[in-house]
Subunit: 349 residues, 4 copies
């Protein structure tokens, strides 16, 4: 890291920084500039936090050279992480993108859920998604059926063979959710609920981690790092839109470029959620396509057997016939992308 001193820093200030760096085993090199003095420090940041240096007298700021995440970093593991399930489904790397399909929340109508699951199965999707516990901005909104929903999902899995993705909202529900889910979802608003990250870090199921609406890519990867650091390396990152300044037309700004950026800096698989990312049904198709051509390893999309009656997120859900149409078009795009990969066309670095 590089420590930039204030113009007004005294020789004592500078010496104090040099001393603490040496104490912690850093190699420190001093450059006295015309205006600012700058110190290069080479060594292991786990032993001395940049924040501590930043707080010292006479220090203007500290710049880091390396990214603060480690296990999630492609520097540490250059090849793509591929997550494999018992039934042979794989996410990441050179595998064909997967689809996670289903209603925002599981409602008290098993037949409706089953219709969606059967359609997903018919089209060749791999995952059924649905919320049992729903985080809701207002306490007056429907917040999920709880265990009943989990049972419905399990039943639909039995009938279709689809893997189940569902959200965990609190560490106290971990065992319950693990009993039914194949993949545990951490919602965007819980991306920095560090206790929750720790608890899924200690379980063995793959985790879909959704990006917080105001989180930088660094914060997102550090949230994944929390899970990995606690023992679970099976993390799937999900871009689902960031807070923008214009909410007249879309709920969020779906940050498509985050997909290739993350793939450059991390080996973890990345999926895209155009339903939450836009909040608008008519934007699901173009934005799912955009995510796929930008390199997404999968798409999560809300499908409801009767969107106009949905208890949550109906506006951004596809009906079953709409889903089939959209899915067909997405597949044509995926075919081209796969042809490209198999021809091994070179890529601009």
């Amino acid at each position: 890291m590089i420590i930039i001193m204030e113009k007004t820093a005294t020789q004592d200030n500078i010496q104090a920084v040099m001393n603490i760096l040496k104490e912690h085993g850093f190699r420190a090199i001093l450059h006295e500039g015309a205006v600012h003095t700058v110190i290069d420090a080479l060594g292991d940041k786990t032993s001395l936090s940049p924040d501590r240096l930043d707080a010292m007298e006479g220090v203007s700021h500290v710049k880091l050279i390396r990214e603060p995440y480690r296990m999630a970093s492609r520097d540490r593991k250059p090849e793509d992480t591929v997550i494999e399930f018992d039934n042979g489904v794989k996410i990441g790397g050179a595998n064909r993108p997967v689809f996670m399909v289903g209603p925002c929340s599981v409602e008290d109508d098993y037949e409706g859920l089953l219709q969606v699951a059967l359609a997903a199965k018919e089209m060749g999707c791999q995952f059924l998604r649905g919320g049992a516990f729903k985080p809701r901005t207002s306490p007056y909104d429907f917040d999920g059926l709880g265990e009943k929903a989990l049972k419905y999902l399990a039943k639909a899995k039995e009938e279709t063979g689809l893997l189940v993705v569902t959200e965990l909202m609190d560490s106290s529900d971990l065992d319950l959710v693990c009993e039914y889910a194949d993949v545990i979802q951490i919602g965007a608003r819980n991306m920095q609920n560090f206790r929750l990250l720790k608890s899924v870090g200690k379980c063995s199921k793959p985790v879909v981690l959704k990006r917080g609406p105001a989180s930088t890519i660094k914060e997102f990867l550090l949230a994944a790092e929390h899970i990995m650091y606690n023992g679970n390396e099976k993390v799937i990152l999900c871009e689902r839109g960031i807070k923008g300044f214009d909410s007249s037309y879309t709920r969020n700004v779906l940050d498509i470029s985050a997909i290739p950026v993350i793939k450059k800096y991390s080996h973890l698989p990345v999926i895209v959620d155009p339903s939450h990312g836009t909040g608008q049904r008519y934007l699901i198709e173009p934005m799912a396509k955009a995510g796929l051509v930008a390199g997404a390893d999968g798409v999560m999309v809300e499908v409801h057997h009767n969107p106009a009656q949905a208890l949550s997120d109906g506006k951004q859900s596809l009906s079953i016939p709409q889903f089939k149409e959209v899915f067909t078009k997405l597949n044509s795009i995926i075919d081209v992308l796969h042809l490209e990969k198999s021809m091994s066309l070179p890529t601009v670095e």
Copy 2:
């Protein structure tokens, strides 16, 4: 609410909306415009969610007239909420602003903590703040001493009489934290951890709820609503900075105008945290002043007995002598504001 139909909406679409409104007891008035048809709906939104209407075929969007929070709204309760403690300390309304002072995290040095607490007491502050459980962006950072920290805080309370404010990160720690804390803090990154909000909603201690870095004022008040709806009306809102596009100079953008805005729309007390809001020691004084003149009912400020050695947030902590200087200047400003209030000068609406 007002339902704006798509230009392409059919008569059947319009009729379907009118029908569902009537079913739910709304009075619905149809305006057929040159381009759009618009439906006014007067009635009780708890019985029919705007989201459900928004998802219907032919609906362009739904506009709300009233705010979605109720218990937190000044419409429901015009007079300021004042929260009173056993020792007579009061927050809110016409009371003099309070101060919550202490280190970011409680470290394993009781004497240091005590020095800060004694200085706070000497200056006339009412609260000692300090983290026992710390949310940290990186898993490699110090995340708090846990119960040991709570015991230190209790000890310092015994010696000084200051009330204790400390953060709760997970509902499983609720009983432990309640045993030691006079005020429970919910951190910015947990503002939409709805399970945590529910759990503090069921306890009797006042809650400091920090605004999430990407949360709108509506989302902030709805988070308070979650706590109130679950039974605890003693909520203190804390503005601590929102995510901005320029992080070169400050960690966040401290949104000072949120203070008078919230005070217009809600009766709850509002405090300001210039330490987290800016991340820079030299900005604490001007931004604490700014918060106070804008109407804040209190200031939360990080003070450390040795900022350069702090395990977290040293850069934004005041030393004890700095705190005394700043506090003196803030008091001069408060004196003027109180004079103004007591003279009952009129206010522009």
Copy 3:
């Protein structure tokens, strides 16, 4: 529009609003709610600005039903605008996407420019882009060759037949730029330079209008409206990235969903600029693809014969061989999209 009165509004306040509405020929309907009084106003907003109502005593706020742009609106003109050039090139509608290719700024090396132009021609591109007048954040940076650059562009046009796109920075240069350019570009930082918009509104050349980094879609379309209102309907909108909170990895957030949103609300053609939108060479290919699948009518991309020596924006420029590779892959995507269109697959509304 809908006028929502303050809870505290008096009967006189309400009457004053009703009166002014009637004076201006509006049909005004009063709803007295339990909390707020609401007034529906149906009529022509050109005769009475919502701002004026908003400023009246007792008015809380005014909500608009219709979009404020008119000439740019798809409501007014449902079919896509297609812009056609003398040489038969067309932008918009069902036409194959066009490419605008060239260096950020034209430098004093005609041979370099020609190499780029010849490569563009060879690949089947239609436009050569290059800056003669460059807006630069710092006064110490290279700001363009001026007329010399325009002459170079004209010469390259002569040799290749490519149409020329170049930026106009000030209305005083309008005649000069028009002499050489086939398309006039208005840069992002001038999107709300209304005098400049007015001046290009009075000329006959098509205009590429870049979206300002903090402009909402409504502001963007209103900027186009300024040009159209002054007489020039040949406006091509260009999405080139908005300001985000994370500038560590990309210069801007390329707002891909803006493309299908604009196409829903406006009939104007939309192109995408992945070079400025990301500021990173490796992101040009995925983000150009993303723009195309989301519906863009063209791509503007920076290509330099020697990016490492470029006087501006080298980091985000492709070299000539890189451009050829990327262009080939983009064409495969375009082929699928065109197949889809010609098969007339239905679209989700």
Copy 4:
């Protein structure tokens, strides 16, 4: 500056960077780290742009140590700039904050303008502000009276002695505006209209430069640098709100902390505009106070003789009696601040 190489950079890549640095007279020091190679470069960046290095093969990114602005920097000129007018009025440094008061746009009602000017004079304000040329988001809005407005301002100056502040929108109007104005205002949307900056850089009148709604502090100071570099060092910076994600309650987020940040990094005077910064009349008083306690050298505030009839910005204008009330309260705050200054209380750095 510091050049961080890609992990995959070759020895040739590194050598190429070292060579170009030496060619341009930089002292270059190479650190080969475990993962990344880092090059320290000490020298004069005017001779070699960081962008050029950033575009070289194998370079990951370039970090700057020093700020890119020079003339605007406090490093170059530690003492505050004070701007003095012929009538003895001074802005900046230890001088009492000034007030710039008047309608958003000058309307065709000289008596109304005069009433405002007389009230401003009576209260001890120094400047009359008012727009003759108005930038308007929509082409359908009132855009100013032009020269007639300038003549009205001049007449009101004659009757009151107030100095005149008015906006310049296009360099072609420079002579006209200079004839009437004592201070030329550059609007927020023109902050990066570099031709306009250049033109006011060549005139001798002080300039109020408003911060663009999406501009970082660095971009803001570089815009000032454009004016200074062209010869005019009399620049007054004006914070007037940045684009935020929540426009339900305020038009912009008034970035109060920008004031002390700019004062730390630049010697130029800074004023605050709570009218545009919030768009709400009731927020003018608290936010003007907030700006003043944060160190502003002046306040610009919209006052209209009849806000409900204003042709622009009525919602955010004070009436004359409201202005008098607010002004009185602001003066009490200023008195405390001045007492503080004169007692020379120490400041936290």
